[in-house]
């Protein structure tokens, strides 16, 4: 191979790798992005069963029920809509009624109950998941106590 050909081969290989990486990223995005919804959104839009989403809102007071074993059901609300959620596992330490929560999972076909496989925990009890705070504020829900610490 001449020097020019060699250089072309190297550049071609590098560019090929980069193109492959870009395609890979695009493929992975199409597979694994979870959209964020609050219960009010779900009255307007339908989420197909099996599609992973993140559901955020407040845990409705008095809605937490412990079933058999480690399965827990609760209701997520944004004061406009409500969505029943079931979760099997250990809830995060800061999971409380009336507090913000983000549940990740999917709906199953023909069932209004959201099956969560992850319920997000926060390190700080004064911290509200930003996505939740934004959306709730946009819908006119006042977040009592959020700013009292600062």
């Amino acid at each position: 191979m001449t020097r020019k050909q060699k250089r072309l081969a190297v550049i071609g290989g590098g560019v090929g790798f980069l193109v492959a990486a870009v395609l890979l990223v695009m493929f992975a995005f199409s597979q694994s992005i979870a959209y964020f919804y609050v219960p009010g959104d779900l009255q307007k839009t339908e989420v197909p069963p099996g599609t992973r989403i993140r559901l955020g809102g407040l845990v409705e007071t008095g809605s937490v029920e412990r079933g058999s074993g480690s399965t827990v059901t609760f209701v997520v609300t944004d004061t406009i809509g409500t969505v029943p959620v079931t979760y099997t596992g250990i809830l995060p330490d800061l999971f409380r009624e009336g507090q913000g929560v983000v549940a990740e999972g999917a709906f199953t076909a023909g069932n209004p109950v959201f099956v969560a496989d992850t319920v997000l925990a926060k390190h700080d009890e004064t911290y509200m998941p930003k996505d939740v705070a934004d959306r709730l504020e946009a819908q006119g829900v006042t977040l009592g106590g959020k700013e009292t610490i600062r």
């Binding site: 060699k6 081969a9 190297v10 290989g13 590098g14 790798f17 980069l18 990486a21 890979l24 990223v25 493929f27 992975a28 995005f29 597979q31 694994s32 992005i33 979870a34 959209y35 964020f36 993140r54 412990r66 058999s68 074993g69 480690s70 099997t88 596992g89 250990i90 809830l91 330490d93 800061l94 983000v102 990740e104 997000l120 925990a121 926060k122 390190h123 700080d124 009890e125 004064t126 911290y127 998941p129 930003k130 996505d131 934004d134 959306r135 610490i149 600062r150």
Partner: protein, 663 residues
Amino acid sequence: MIIEIGHYALVLLLATSIVQSLLPLAGTVRNDPALMAVAPSAAVTGFLLTAFSFAILTFAYVTSDFSVANVWQNSHSMKPMIYKISGVWGNHEGSMMLWLLILTFFSALVATFGGNLPERLRANVLAVQGWITTAFGLFILLTSNPFLRLDPAPGEGQDLNPILQDVGLAIHPPLLYLGYVGFSVCFSFAIAALIDGRIDAAWARWVRPWALMAWSFLTAGIAMGSYWAYYELGWGGWWFWDPVENASFMPWLAGTALLHSALVMEKREALKIWTVLLSILTFSLSLLGTFLVRSGVLTSVHAFATDPTRGVFILTILIIFIGGALSLFALRAPTLKAGGLFAPISREGALVFNNLILTTAAATVLTGTLYPLVLEALTGEKISVGAPFFNLTFGLLMLPLLLAVPFGPLLAWKRGDLLAAGQRLFAAVGIGLFLAAIAQWSQGGGPVLAYFGLAIGFYMLAGAVTDLALRSGVGKVTAGVARRRLFGLPGSAFGTALAHFGVGVTVIGIVAVTAFETEHVVEMKPGASVEAGGYTLTFDGMRQGRGPNFTEESGHFTIARAGVSKGEVWSSKRLYTARRMPTTEAGIRTFGFSQLYVSLGDAMSDGGIVVRVWWKPMILCIWIGSLIMMAGGFVSLCDRRLRIGAPQGARKARPVPALGAAE
């Protein structure tokens, strides 16, 4: 009064750093040695002032001076002493103070140990360090001042977030910042060189020790953070691909690439422009990480109380530094002469391959981390990019690199022989496959991919050993000569082998945990038992307890294997009294490299309790491997050529700077 002295020292630091930013630069422009000589003393003074100021803040924490707002918000008189001290940086203001302390520490190091640098280069490097110090000094004084007072002073503090009340806080942030901020030195060297328009192999020789040091600390810092999150959060996970984790991981990837490209530049004077760009990018990613962590723009499990208004300030710093640096680079890069030619199959070629993959991987992580932010800004749509995205893209991208790692050191500079290297690695490949087959036999099944992964890990271990064996001539010379040769090898050869060995160990840990971990969520009453990883875990009952600033309920479990007792483990839920905040303290029992991990859930009405039990096979390998990588970095750093060679390079470089230091 003493608090105000600390505050005043911080203001003085700002003044010093402004002097450090301007005078040395004026000195290099006007070729005035007196002005250039201001730089080292300003840098050392700046460090002493910051250290003094930091010490006073620590003093306020230790004496629980709640008239200081920052102490009131984050401390408590009942808190154990170690957390009073580590609590200094367990909050935004204190964390930025630590950032600044480490930044000025590195400036002072350059000033003290940079005696062999050309005067102009040292002056410029310290001036650039001065700009960064000025920017962050201003940031602290204007938006995040830890010395603000409260009047009247409250009687008791609000306590530190209980999650942070752990020895991990004493270790993880300082190590992480030593890495993160350490790359500022590489950045400053790059900018200084671009200002002067002179970059040669000697430059790479001066930069490489700093990059190595920062990289080693960052490796340890990330590993420590991962282990801390693993045992403290009680979720059993060791890496979440969380924005804050990615923020520290991106500089690590870029820094790893920088280490390797600087090697090419030092030895062969090739990849000059690329190395300079990487130096800039690595620290830019550190700055970006600081922005992501400190501004709270991304939803993160690690987000502590953050303040978006501060984000704007850091964003401005970010834009000025990254934008400025890249503009300067664009302006000056074309004037740099490209050096040494090499064949695609050569040591240089292998290192280019390494750089291609590492930077692509860093770009992928960056894309995944920032995409939600960009999409929300553009369309208002909120999405989250989770672990599956990163596992798929990052995992696949790294695969060819892992396979190539043992090849790199076996290829010759300029023109290598892939076939010969492959033949030499025959044994390593065989050992990898053999050990994976043994693992398969002992596990009795499991996913094929997992054994493929394990084989790669073992192959990397064997490859690192092969490299050392070939260098010392095992098989060609007598054992005695080989041993003498082995001990005579330069530190950097050991460092390389160690670091690559560490990668293999980490790979084995990751693969084993991902493929073979088992998880059980069960409701247990006293006397009930559960099986995990061949061990039987029996729940004996709960016990109440109290610590200095918390109450706890602990579950006691006994562990047995085939009827033989293997010890006990406590797992608890704590309630920190000051903040009324509950935490989970996982019970962890180590068996060899594997761990049994027990986490408590909620108590049931009928007296039972929900228990989550994981068997984590080989999980310690993940962090042990990282520590081996770090050790490799430090061993390389001890290489005599790096310490003694540098000044020689400088002297040789001075008369004919364009030629640089010859080997």
